[in-house]
Symmetry: C2
Subunit: 111 residues, 2 copies
Amino acid sequence: MKYKIKSKIWIEAEGNILLGRGRVSLLKAIEQTGSLSKAAKSLNMSYKKAWNLVNDVNLRAEELVVKTSIGGKGGGGTILTDYGKLLINAFETINENCHNFLDNQLTKTSL
Amino acid sequence: MKYKIKSKIWIEAEGNILLGRGRVSLLKAIEQTGSLSKAAKSLNMSYKKAWNLVNDVNLRAEELVVKTSIGGKGGGGTILTDYGKLLINAFETINENCHNFLDNQLTKTSL
DNA sequence: ACTCGTTATATTTATTAATATATAACGTTT
DNA sequence: AAACGTTATATATTAATAAATATAACGAGT
């Protein structure tokens, strides 16, 4: 059998998407760069799109995921909160567990 | 914690999508109606889109998923093969198992 | 031969999503 | 007060996707 099984998972808060693969990789890039604009650039994403995503995450999460500062030394920046780190960690481990689970499920079929 | 975890799964054959949620519901509608055009109508889907999907499934699957006949009594029709039934059955059970698995995973987090 | 309801296919139009461009606001540093 | 790199926001443009429209082909039955 030459089939493969794929999946996408995401977390919702009150029916709205909170966190998916794309948002997680953006948050990780923010963690590494300390800047939203640099994170966007590193992912070849427009700043506007990145800002919209991060803003949406912050609005919908139970606690702040990211803290931003405007102006000042370096012009400002964006950092991940501890809660944000918790969130992306949970997402990534569940995601990997899901992949393993599905691969196992497929091998149990008679396809 | 008010978060929910959602997922989409699909089966690929050589890097191309073979079967996802939409295709499965189309195949099930074909099974019920015996007709591609009626199945499309019942899902408020254009015939063209439905035909493209079904054609793609048939091309990529290891065996025929659907058999079509043109003209004749009733104008023709489309029926699901035994292999097609096997395929949608596998998809649906794995999909449900996946949902349960993910719900369980989420409750194990400290979110 | 003609009708019927279906499959098969191409072309055009409309809608949606993504991208690009522009500008304002901010606050430390010099 | 001027400069810098950032966040914040709006608007316009382009690209991708979905939907609508039209037409041909088929073959059993009348």
